[in-house]
Amino acid sequence: MTMRMFANGRYAVFVACLAAGSLLAGCGGKTVTTSTQDQSLAPGSPVAKKVEPMEAAKAEPAPEREAPPKEEMGFGKPGAMAEARVAERAVPSVTAPAPASAAEASLALAGLGDVFFDYDRATIRTDAKAVLEANAKMLKAGQGAKLVIAGHCDERGTLAYNLVLGERRAQAAKRYLVDLGISMAQIQVTSYGKEKPFCTEHSKECWQKNRRAHFAAQ
């Protein structure tokens, strides 16, 4: 009996110690620490200047400008003309009859040219003004045809930064068209940032092709 009590006592102590030890060892508090570093605020690139249509013919210095991608103007749009030939483009007359259907309206917008931007800028360049004026004439001929202006960027920079920059490019193109007399209600803007590049090579030429505002029928 004494042996059994001793055995029971030792057993109980053993189990109690094992359980207590395990619990004490395994129940350490949770610690969570956080900190920040490298905080910075970078000012944005200059907001696209609102350019009056009257200024379109004036020469505008563009110190950081890269050469427009002449060989790829209208990239992905076989019907589009090269930027250098925009001035010669035969645009539909303002008095042309209105398209009979939405499909015809879309067709009328198929020839809208893209406009290109300098690196990290959303300013309408001189070469882009001619394209936008031609686009405005086509839109007026389209009798209220609706379009979407999509802003695109090259692959440099973060996704978020380029989404914002793409939107600013699209907005700059929209503002210019509105100044030329196009109704704001006709135009929607969107941004694809660097997500839908027209050219996928990693070169300056390719990056210039991707820094654009692209016009498409809604």
Binding site: M3, R4, A7, N8, Y11, F14, V15, L18, G21, S22, L23, A25, G26, C27, G28, G29, K30, T31, V32, T33, T34, S35, T36, Q37, D38, Q39, S40, L41, A42, P43, G44, S45, V47, A122, T158, L159, A160, Y161, L163, V164, L165, E167, R168
Partner: protein, 198 residues
């Protein structure tokens, strides 16, 4: 005496059971579905769109492992295997619960780069120690003026548990990420729909 031996056997079984608690599910993968936790709403925030976060870690295939008491390991990962997407999801979840709007036209575009995100656990006799480490570089671009707020968020957490459950890891990792994003909110302020550093 027979009873004494029988109880010793019971004790032995109990002890082995405690030890075996650190050995279950050897070789398996535990997917951690993380979410924002312990978030206190703080009024109306900005409208934000959270873009996918880039996973810039050296080892992208997993978050880490749990090393079992005797041998073997369990792998920790996130559903879908994309840690960047998971961190972005927690960020969006956190900001939404904090009072920021995630619908409509955004005032701020948030993106980031996951520089470090490791989750590990080491089982020992009677306990398992879980450790979580994060380092996320975030970038918030103000849509109105194009200005950019950048910040690197460091997070770390550890916890010892007696009986290991995958939920412990999930909870700790969620907490570390949530507190990291809390630092982002605490160190910034809103001025005329623009995010600025305090």
């Amino acid at each position: 005496m027979t009873g004494f031996m029988g109880r010793w056997k019971q004790g032995l079984v109990l002890g082995v059971g405690l030890l075996m608690a650190g050995c279950a599910a050897n070789g398996s993968v535990v997917n951690l579905d993380l979410q924002a936790v312990k978030v206190e709403k703080a009024g109306e925030g900005l409208s934000v769109a959270v873009a996918a976060f880039e996973d810039a870690r050296g080892e992208k295939g997993r978050l880490g492992v749990r090393r079992h008491l005797w041998d073997g390991e369990t792998t920790f990962n996130v559903p879908g295997g994309k840690a960047g997407d998971m961190v972005a999801k927690v960020a969006a979840d956190y900001l939404k619960r904090k009072g920021w709007r995630t619908e409509g036209a955004p005032d701020v575009m948030l993106s980031g780069k996951v520089l470090d995100f490791s989750v590990n656990a080491q089982s020992k006799f009677g306990s398992t120690e879980i450790t979580v480490k994060t380092k996320v570089a975030v970038e918030a671009v103000n849509k109105a003026d194009g200005s950019v707020v950048r910040m690197t968020l460091n997070g770390g957490g550890s916890q010892k548990v007696f009986w290991f459950e995958p939920e412990d890891v999930q909870e700790l990792a969620s907490e570390v990420l949530s507190e990291s994003f809390d630092k982002l909110v605490m160190n910034t302020k809103v001025e005329n729909k623009l995010l600025r550093l305090k």
